[in-house]
Amino acid sequence: MNQSLRFLIVILPILVLVFFTKVLLVDGDIKFSNFESKSFPSFELNDLNGDSVNAQSLDGIKLVNVWASWCITCLVEHPFLTKLAEKNIQIIGLNYKDSDFKANAWLQRHGNPYLFSIYDPRGDLAFDLGVTGAPESYLIVNNQVVGHIQGEMNQTKWETIFLPLITKAKQGS
């Protein structure tokens, strides 16, 4: 009785540890890779320069970043996006519930990491996309939404969530 009790005291916590390690390592991976991809909603809108844009502009691997001039966190992640743009990551802005005048002024003041910014003052496209607020970032591969990050984009999130997906997409094509 005493022997088996001693054995249990040590074995039970080990079992718990093994189980949680499995949850973290194996199931955690499944959680990330099982993001249901859906196609980017179709749209007909203008960009901030007044040129018309649609879903065809989203071929290849693109990062769609939801931003606005009223959004403080967008300013926080802005330097990181600029760094990404310098590394030739193609970033497309989705200017969300903003005025084009304020948005353009904001870009002039802080720099423009975007190829272009879709102007979505009423939030129609954002609604179709399922945006909950700014900032948010979507990873688009050939018109398919394959990844999604809510809130501030930073080095860690980029490396742990989007970068593996990009590598996967590049291997697939």
Binding site: N2, V10, P13, F19, L24, V26, G133, T156
Partner: protein
């Protein structure tokens, strides 16, 4: 610059603690040099002070709006009052982990310096504490560095604290909870040191008793404040949701409560002594498990921080390491600990042990409730959720049996069996009175719910037992332990209030346009939506409804609000609450409908105040116990 200095100080603390460990381990088998402990103590104290100063500087950085620090930039804002600039530090993972470590360090330095100069367990305790602090400091600096800068240029403005966290109750809820959690590092380290040392003639209970009681008080206050905050600020309308993170706080609380009880009885029986040691280890292990659940993000919950497998893995392996270390030593020493002095059946300590078993059963049930969804998801990929019905069904019978044992143990004696006649006399009065109370409640409300009635009956049993004992004490001068009596009356009241709340409370959803009024039921005869106003406050816009109620013949005016925070764009809802002795009138405003009317949710919550009051009684009772003169 200050950020770098603070970072450097924390790193230096890591270095000093490593020195303490290496230095002592290398001398482990050698003869102890008289100065070895003195030097280790100095190094340890200095390491602790480095952590404190580093945290102090971090607080300064937060107050002075240094948004080049990434963590401060994403959780604070220059517009915030200074109070919330400070509390924003523990509004997310990195900063709160830092605070957690500061408390860990504070408990450790206070305890180790309170031990006599040549206490035989001092060196081993010091080693355990150094190891634990070192492990968590490394976790902080390696996986969740709060000092990280945004380079090359800092942010101009911070991203603001989450508005639901801008509340005084929440500002002190995490610190209290952490103080409770990490306070049990003392019993953990000291017991492990005792087991390692192997001299079982030593008395260890008195050295950690009061420390554990104080930690228990903090833990209880922390949990109650969290519940209070969910009720008043989050607008959830309830006080307890069996949320995984609430559960992982409840587990160490139950273990700590069992620990306190068995500490009392440990001096009466060696069997209980061994059991008490196991509990002392278990509490801190469960606290660490809680930290892992919250910070690894493996469970989705309002409390959980970002999902990061790397952090989870570090926390799991380190917590696992020290828990296994302690448990392995415990298992190794087990045969030497057991002795012939058994628990006398029918004695006070026997009932106390029974309740200890019940508390362990409830810990196990909660543990199962928390992990079961993960197990199922891991095996079949399906998502299941375990909610209040599971916990209510499990807890009702446990509480019932526990209440009976508590009732009997009031009159039971230490180390002596209780005669059957005395047992029946003890049980008769509280049982009769509780049945009467149950009957009266049934007559008054006409509601029957088996689980709630079990709860009410159990609560009343405890209440009446201690009240009778108190009356006996007053008239016949029978001995009463005041602290214990007050704490148990608090517990009885808690069971009673929670059960009454569950059968009496109700909710009505209403649709009204401004200027309209309707009659809700016999209690709320008139509900008038007088006006709605929109105005600007310092950092948010407000929509405020003016509502007046005619409730139980009295006029009440309520102003539920919706706030839109300008910086984050987040919308929060501020419920209006009118509290009276028995019930809270809890009104929340919803959305505007297309026809211009607004939705309201009117909740009538009974006995809520009693729940807070009963928690306060428990805390006060334990507080008295700490200052009680020793009787033996």
């Amino acid at each position: 610059m200050i950020g770098e200095i603070a970072h450097f100080l924390s790193l230096s603390a890591v270095l000093l603690l490593s020195l303490v460990l290496i230095f002592n381990l290398s001398f482990f088998f050698a003869k102890i040099h008289p100065n070895q402990l003195i030097l280790s103590m100095r190094l340890f104290n200095q390491a602790c002070w480095l952590v404190f100063i580093s945290f102090g500087m971090y607080v300064y950085l937060a107050i002075s709006d240094d948004f080049s620090i990434a963590y401060i930039a994403s959780h604070s804002n220059s517009q915030l009052p200074i109070f919330y600039k400070v509390t924003s530090i523990w509004s997310a993972h990195e900063g709160s982990m830092f605070l957690w470590i500061v408390f860990l360090t504070a408990w450790s330095i206070l305890f180790i310096n309170s031990l006599e100069k040549n206490h035989p367990l001092k060196k081993l305790t010091l080693l355990m504490l150094s190891l634990i602090i070192l492990g968590f400091l490394l976790f902080l600096l390696l996986t969740s560095n709060p000092f990280e800068r945004i380079l090359p240029f800092g942010a101009l403005e911070g991203a603001d604290i989450n508005p639901v966290l801008q509340d005084p109750a929440l500002a002190i809820h995490p610190p209290m909870l952490y103080l409770g959690y990490v306070g049990f590092v003392i019993s953990f380290s000291f017991i492990t040191a005792y087991l390692l040392n192997g001299d079982f003639e030593l008395q260890w209970e008195e050295d950690i008793k009061n420390w554990s009681f104080v930690a228990w008080i903090f833990l209880t206050i922390g949990i109650t404040l969290g519940s209070w905050w969910a009720y008043y600020e989050l607008g959830w309308g309830g006080y307890w949701f069996w949320d995984p993170v609430e559960n992982v706080a409840l587990m160490p609380w139950l273990a700590a409560t069992a620990f306190m009880h068995s500490l009392f009885a440990a001096s009466k029986s060696n069997v209980l002594k061994t059991w008490t040691m196991f509990l002392g280890i278990l509490i801190f292990a469960l606290s660490l498990f809680g930290a892992f659940i919250v910070r690894s993000g493996i469970i989705d919950s309002v409390h959980s921080f970002a999902n990061d497998p790397e952090r989870g893995l570090y926390l799991l392996s380190f917590s696992g390491l020290i828990t296994l270390l302690a448990l392995t030593i415990f298992a190794y020493r087990l045969p030497a600990l057991n002795s012939s002095k058994l628990v006398v059946t029918g004695s006070k300590e026997s009932f106390l042990s029974m309740n200890n078993v019940l508390m362990i059963t409830s810990i196990f049930s909660i543990f199962l409730g928390v992990t079961y969804p993960l197990i199922i998801e891991s095996i079949s990929g399906e998502k299941v959720s375990i909610g209040p019905p599971y916990y209510n069904t499990i807890f009702a019978p446990l509480i019932f049996i526990a209440a009976i044992f508590i009732m009997i143990s009031v009159d039971a004696l230490w180390q002596r069996s209780m005669p059957l006649r005395a047992l029946l006399i003890t049980m008769s009065a509280p049982t009769m009175l509780s049945l009467l109370a149950l009957y009266l409640i049934w007559q008054a409300t006409n509601i029957f719910s088996i689980l709630a009635y079990i709860g009410i009956f159990s609560g009343s049993l405890i209440l009446f037992s201690y009240l009778i004992r108190a009356i006996n004490n007053f008239f016949k001068k029978k001995f009463i332990n005041k602290g214990s009596a007050i704490a148990h009356i608090g517990l009885g009241l808690l069971f009673f209030a929670v059960s009454m709340n569950s059968i009496l409370s109700y909710e009505k959803n209403l649709n009204l346009a401004p200027g309209q009024s309707i009659s809700v039921n016999e209690s709320v005869r008139e509900f008038s939506f007088n006006d709605i106003r929109v105005f600007k406050a310092s950092n948010h816009d407000v929509i405020s409804a003016e509502v007046s109620l005619l409730q139980d013949g009295r006029e009440i005016s309520l102003n539920p609000q919706k706030r839109k925070y300008t910086i984050r764009g987040q919308i929060t809802s501020e419920s209006a609450i009118h509290a009276s002795l028995l019930k809270d009138t809890y009104l929340t405003i919803g959305d505007q409908l297309e026809n211009g009317s607004w939705t309201f949710s009117l909740k009538i919550n009974y006995f809520i105040k009693w729940i807070w009051f009963s928690a306060a009684l428990m805390v006060f009772g334990i507080f008295l116990t700490i200052f009680k003169k020793k009787v033996s």
